[in-house]
Each structure stands twice: as C-alpha cells, then as structure tokens.
Amino acid sequence: MEPIKYVDELIAHYGSLGFPEYKWTVNDTAPLHRLEKPLSECVVSILVSGGVSQCSMPGFDPDARNDHRLDAIANETPEDDFQIHDSYYDHTDAEHDINCVFPITRLREFADAGEIGGVAARHWSGFMGRIYNRTKVLEESAPAFVAKLNEDAVDILLAVPA
C-alpha cells in the first residue's frame, strides 16, 4: 500500500482539536558525520519519541504539546518494565513487545554477537511530537541531549520517531 500521508492527516487532525496551524520544518540539506571506526567498535544508544517511560516513572502526557521531557533509561532495564502514554499512535503491539518501537533487547543481542561495539549505559525517551517551539529544541533541548550522549561516549544514535 502507499505510505500514509501524515502531513495532510495531521493538519486535519490538529485543526479538529483546535490547535494552531503547525509550521512544518522543511530542509533541503542535511549534515553528515562519517565514522572512521567500524560498527563492531561503535557504542549505540536509542532515542524513542513515543511516550515510553519506565513503570516507576510518571507516564508521559499522552496529549502533550511542547513537551521537552527527556527520560534516561538504563540499558539494563527489563523489557517488561515500560508503560506507554501517547494518544497519537496505536501502541497496543508495543505494549506487548517494547521492541516494536524501542528495540533494547535486539540491541543487546547485537552487542552480545559482536555486531556493534557496545550498548550505551543509557537510552532516551522524549521529544514527543507537536513541538511548536522548535527554536528551543535546536538551541537548548537537543544540545543538552547531545552532551549526555557524549558523557556515555555514544558513537551512533538510533532514532525511532513514533
């Protein structure tokens, strides 16, 4: 089937909720950082934006706008210790198997098999959608996040938007 046209759907959906018009970021160039060392020597961390939190933490606001909350999730967290709160996608499957959207077990398996150099000490959940104040992302939230990745000597970020 053809990919869903999310831009059109979201404009209609946000409008029906009385949200202000969303100004999409449109870029025609992108940065690219080439890694010298092979994947088998790289440390990998995951970032998911689908309202995933540990059961001991408060749930994310499922209807949030402009939510810059970012949770650190220790790599050794058991895969059944998560809850999902997000009204903008169907997380029924991910509730049964967190790896559908936050593949921590798969990543650990890759490290055990030597496909990657290692799994970072921390993974991350945050940057949920509907962020209207994007300057704050670019100038504050994302640089602060990068500093934490550097603390953990992360080479590669596997990003999962949901």
């Binding site: 089937m1 690219l32 950082h33 009204s87 169907d90 499957d93 996040f145 999962v160 938007p161």
Partner: protein, 99 residues
Amino acid sequence: MGLVCRVAEEAGIATVCVSTGRDLTVQVLPPRSAFVNFPMGNNFGAPGDVERQSEIMRTALAMIHETEQAGRLIDLPYEWSGPFEYFTGRGKNTAEAAS
C-alpha cells in the same frame, strides 16, 4: 526527532532514523533514514517477530557507514500484514471498551 538527529550529527554523533512517516521524514530530512511502511509504533515490526526486528535494525545500522549522501532515505521492502490507517487516537482497547 529529525531535528534532534540533525543537531546530534552536527555535533559528531552519527544518527539513523527508523521512520514510519515517509512524508514527514522527507520534509525534515534527517541525515539518514530507513522508511518502514508499517503502522507508527511498529517501526521494527510485529510483537515477537525477533527476526524482522533484527533485520530492520541491522539495515538501519548499516546505513551509518554506507551512506555517502547526506539526507539519504531508503525504502525497506517489507509489507505489513494488512491495510492500516492514520491513527486518530482511538486505540483498539478504547474501541473495545466503548463497544
């Protein structure tokens, strides 16, 4: 999410995005993207499908070194098990509870 990837990439961390929203990804243009035509939230496939989850992650991670053109997007060849639609906030559980 794409914006965050761009900031991380500029700071020297290589990123790859596993996306289920092709048009959204094309607009923001993260450094590297693997598009999976699955429902949002099933970015790595179905529950318990370890093989497919691993394949998607392996393909995405391989893009880190294979990508020479910034903003590259690849379309993964998988098809979901049935038709799916844009999700409007009514989950399966919600629908069951209401019926």
